[in-house]
Subunit: 337 residues, 2 copies
């Protein structure tokens, strides 16, 4: 046996725990005060897609939305890991058209949609996926918008040394108060770089995103615009049945949530000026959702029992177990008021 | 920080470990001697689909294969979690026809095929999934074969109190030398029961499966028949590109391998009369594969570097990291000769 982050989420089957998910999480005020944490939150963590709002901030701050006539749905898509449903992909094409660009300018690669339903719909209609279906295509459209607005050659915009990515790096460094020059960096699933940072720096960034007066001045209004666009258009941040979409719909403007690959989740809560960042050690997305639900519930937000303790159903819809937070791990989350 | 099973597998991205998978594993001789173990192998573990060979044994021992003209592919399917490809589903229909039964007799429920490719192919051809596509449909056909051979009413054969499942329970108890009457039991994904047992009991069962003279006498020839059928027809145990299929093809009769849901894997190695059972705490199937590859490699089997350390590629096929065994966890696996 070795030392490890605590178990945050368990999966049960009948009378026994079948699987368990360890992890780390932190809740921070925009002042930098940690109000709760668990596990090793100093550990370097790749935020993956959870950082998308900060990848969009320099583009919004550049004036691109006004220059190209981008609307709130376009802005929501820049923060999205979307499901590749027709409503998503049609808007991505319109977004590119506003920039005077097209699908071939996207450098994100392609994949069948993340969700089975969207994959089946696409195949049923005898279409194959292209870059528009990549869950990051909205983010990439936003990166292209920054390049167009700054009149940078947009070719290679996804590479770490391109001015677009350098502008994003500096934005993240300033918003999250962290050094990325010496941080591990890797192409993400969509090839744009992802820089690792301590988990508490990610929480700080989203606490400030929830309280944008704490961000560098030029990002104040852009952060407000992105928060508003995403929370008013949660379908475009994820898609049908997805957790980010469900939760932002249910919380009706009280929280911005975003998943990242390999078990990362962030949230920004303006009413308390709080940021939350968590990472499941195993990379489980479902466990990350249950952990996030538990934190939001303990902070006082109205979270349904189904989000806190989802039932596991088998192929005949029989309930065989549940996924549940380990109560003791979250028991000392304080009242944020 | 709390005590935990050791990390067996890490996922890396650039210069950093991104995710980690803890787990437990045991390698046992058919005599019951543990030659290597790691983590808490006493812990009750649901074997899930890894137990399928033992769910098929009573049917083979009943004489059903001869009575109904079942061939080796039918037997391989009874041990399978298949991909739902056309070659699988056509054989399942033939299997049911041999029994004088049809699709509506299967009680496994249905789902879109586990693999994206098979799902896309099915949707592209404007078909919807039914029970034949359930990855357990071959196992269920085998359960129906036992009911027909014993002239039991096959309706409700998937319920824990049906004679079919009671015969399977007694078979597992005797082969794995474990008590299941007082064990946690739950409907599996396909509704047939799965009983939890200590991980080392699962390893013992498959060590005896590798050395069937150690099984109760009536299961000796049936175990040989199932081993031979599965290892000679590995496509029918899983499917295109799947780990069980790849490994059994590459090892060419030297090993029987089978995945179980939630990060379980078993193997049976006749040349050394060894059984292996492992369970990743997180339930990760990919981590279980890498851990199994590492154990087989350290025991002396020829395992390719790609199976031991698979590269992670992004949507543009760029290598972003790898999944690798933690060498120190496996360093003391002995030479089995």
């Amino acid at each position: 046996m070795t030392l490890a982050n605590p178990t945050l989420v368990e999966l049960t089957r009948a009378d026994a725990v079948e699987s368990e998910h360890r992890g780390r999480a932190v809740v921070m005020r925009s002042t930098g005060e940690t109000i709760w944490s668990i596990g090793d939150t100093d550990r370097l963590t790749y935020p993956r897609s959870a950082i998308k709002a900060f990848q969009a901030l320099p583009m919004v701050a550049s004036g691109a939305p006004k220059a190209f006539g981008l609307d709130d749905i376009d802005l929501a898509l820049t923060c999205a890991s979307h499901e590749g449903e027709a409503r998503h992909t049609e808007k991505v094409i319109e977004f590119l058209t506003k920039l005077g660009l097209s699908l071939t300018d996207l450098e994100c690669g392609y994949h069948w949609p993340m969700g089975e339903r969207a994959t089946v719909d696409l195949a049923w209609s005898h279409h194959r996926p292209d870059a528009r279906h990549n869950n990051c295509s909205g983010k990439h459209a936003g990166m292209l918008a920054l390049a167009r607005q700054e009149e940078w050659d947009h070719h290679g915009y996804s590479k770490a040394d391109h001015p677009v990515q350098q502008a994003i790096r500096v934005c993240i460094e300033r918003c999250c108060d962290t050094d990325l020059v010496h941080a591990p960096v890797s192409p993400d699933g969509c090839t744009a770089p992802t820089w690792a940072m301590p988990l508490h720096r990610l929480a700080l960034g989203f606490a400030r995103f929830a309280d944008p007066h704490r961000l560098p001045t030029e990002f104040l209004e852009p952060a407000q615009a992105l928060y508003s666009a995403a929370t008013r258009n949660p379908f475009y941040v994820a898609g049908t049945g997805r957790y980010c979409t469900r939760m932002m719909m249910a919380l009706n403007g009280r929280a911005f949530l975003k998943v990242g690959a390999e078990g990362v989740y962030i949230a920004a809560l303006p009413e308390w000026k709080l940021g939350i960042a968590l990472k499941m050690d195993s990379g489980s997305a479902l466990a990350a959702e249950v952990a996030m639900s538990e934190i939001l519930h303990r902070l006082g937000l109205p979270i349904s029992p189904e989000e806190r303790q989802p039932a596991i159903r088998n192929r005949n819809r029989i309930v065989t177990g549940e996924i549940r937070a380990v109560g003791s791990a979250f028991a000392d989350i304080p009242n944020p008021d």
